[in-house]
């Protein structure tokens, strides 16, 4: 992928309101996000010849609704880890000429349709012991981190407090009421050592990104945001326990991060803002260690004192993340990266923002480095 450095650009981003919208379905939400993204870049929608759908049920119905007959279409499963994978797929399609303008669409109606995570009807391997849910898997990993490194739940609270503060500065965010470390400690336990404020939200909403080549991007409405680096590594051999890895995907995160840094020609010290997949708060600690923002086992101490907050050393999830903004499964974080680099973030704008990194530490770890065009 090295030769794709700065060759592909995000030219349009669109989001919907976030919340509970039983009156509209996922196609309707995706259509709103699409229209907003088209307006954002000023592109004639008839020129969009690539369509990627994630969590939108059926690509053909989506194309029918939007009036698109693409040359390149992909449907990704409704899993949380797909956002970074989708961007990489779109880069390849654009580079090869399989498509000239690609729309990536994600919609989620999990709140109004009461989607539950855990206790699925299709029995899992570990169900007979009562072990289920992605949150329990992350609780299991965080306990290991506590045992190995002495990390505390209070340090974990720093993550939740920082992202909630950012949500308070973000007009679209779902959860804006400020919280303290004591609120985090007093929250209802779900699967200990995790508590309610360590868990992501479940809400409805949709996101659209429009990508094209850097060359074509020059003719569009806004300054392009360039994709300067990407990195990837999956970990399926150790995936017997869903959403769990006994080493917190450390090697995979290192590899994906180093690939992205090498391609972009930057390092952790150059990152002005980090957009970090936060399905559960421990994932943020695993991400910081894997990417090398701190040493192994040091993420608990690293996040203390508000380091992830907007005025800290490493502003992270400036939109409030999955914990407090919106459960858009990585997609909204990629939009936030673009908006930060464009300087569109108002009260939560990171000053002189030139390099923003996205990372999702999961069984399919991906990292993307965005820079100003």
């Amino acid at each position: 992928m090295m030769h794709l450095k700065n060759k592909i650009a995000v030219v349009g981003v669109g989001t919907t309101a976030y919340g509970t919208f039983p009156e509209i379905d996922d196609y309707g939400l995706a259509a709103r996000a699409f229209r907003n993204a088209v307006d954002d870049c000023g592109l004639d929608k008839g020129r969009i010849d690539g369509l990627l759908c994630c969590r939108v049920p059926f690509y053909a119905r989506m194309g029918e609704i939007l009036g698109l007959d693409p040359r390149w279409t992909i449907q990704l499963p409704p899993h949380g880890r797909m956002a970074g994978m989708a961007v990489v797929e779109a880069m390849i399609a654009l580079e090869t000429g399989a498509a000239d303008y690609v729309a990536l669409l994600y919609a989620n109606i999990g709140r109004s349709r009461r989607v539950n995570y855990g206790g699925e009807e299709v029995a899992g391997v570990w169900d007979p012991w009562g072990f289920t849910s992605p949150g329990a898997a992350h609780a299991m990993m965080f306990r290991m981190h506590m045992e190995r490194y002495g990390t505390t739940t209070r340090q974990l609270g720093e993550v939740s407090v920082a992202f909630r503060r950012h949500a308070g500065l973000h007009p679209d965010a779902v959860m804006k009421t400020p919280i303290t470390l004591d609120d985090h400690a007093a929250a209802r336990p779900i699967v200990e050592p995790l508590r309610l404020l360590d868990y992501c939200l479940i809400n409805d909403g949709a996101v659209c990104l429009i990508l094209t080549t850097a060359e074509r991007a020059r003719d569009l409405r806004k300054p392009p945001v360039l994709i300067s680096g990407v990195g990837a590594r999956d970990a399926f051999r150790r995936s017997a326990i869903p959403n769990f890895d006994p080493d917190f995907w450390y090697a995979e995160t290192r590899e994906a991060g180093e690939a992205a840094y090498r391609m972009a020609g930057v390092g952790p010290a150059d990152v002005d803002a980090l957009m970090c997949y936060d399905n559960f708060s421990p994932t943020v600690l695993f991400s910081l260690e894997g990417l090398g923002f701190c040493g192994r086992g040091e993420a608990g101490a690293f996040v203390e004192g508000g380091r992830l907050q907007i005025d800290g050393d490493l502003p992270t999830n400036t939109d409030g993340g999955h914990l407090s903004n919106s459960y858009m499964q990585g997609w909204a974080l990629n939009v936030e990266a673009v908006r930060q680099l464009r300087g569109e973030c108002g009260a939560r704008q990171v000053a002189n923002c030139e390099v923003v990194q996205y990372v999702a530490v999961t069984p399919c770890t991906r990292s993307i480095i965005y820079t100003r065009g």
């Binding site: 539950n116 855990g118 206790g119 299709v122 029995a123 899992g124 391997v125 570990w126 169900d127 007979p128 012991w129 009562g130 072990f131 289920t132 849910s133 329990a136 609780a139 299991m140 990993m141 306990r143 290991m144 045992e147 190995r148 209802r188 336990p189 779900i190 699967v191 200990e192 050592p193 051999r237 017997a240 326990i241 006994p246």
Partner: protein
């Protein structure tokens, strides 16, 4: 036992020997007759050499505690009366990781590395769950 209302093992032929062995008080993991690779959960082929010649080995039942969590939420009606309840992650002497429960109250104090041994709990007239106690 007739009123058991917690989730039962998935009816998957790949796992049938594991549950049959557990019924006979034997903890077992899948092993490859071609290359010796051992694992749990099982698969249709060996992930190392892709052989279909797969069998089951009875293991020692000894392991160490890697991690544990306490559920305060019941994801199935059958667990409502149980909460809060614990799940533990055990590394078997032979390598594989198993999610299980402590039989009876959890060992105190809990710490990673704690030696554990398997015990067996009949849950229905067909199924027996391997669980763990301090060794």
């Amino acid at each position: 036992m007739l009123t058991y209302n917690k989730p039962l093992p998935p009816d998957d032929p790949l796992f049938a020997p594991f549950w049959a062995n557990a019924r006979s008080r034997r903890l077992s993991i899948q092993c490859c007759r071609a290359c010796g690779d051992r694992r749990f959960p099982p698969g249709p082929v060996c992930p190392r050499c892709l052989s279909e010649d797969q069998d089951w080995d009875t293991v020692s039942g000894r392991g160490t505690l890697v991690s544990w969590v306490r559920f305060h939420r019941a994801y199935w009606a059958g667990f409502v009366q149980e909460i809060p309840y614990d799940c533990c992650l055990v590394q078997l002497e032979e390598g594989p990781l198993l999610v299980s429960n402590f039989a009876g109250p959890p060992p105190a104090p809990l710490r990673s590395g704690l030696p554990l041994r398997v015990v067996f709990e009949d849950i229905t007239d067909r199924y027996t769950l391997p669980k763990f106690v301090a060794a």
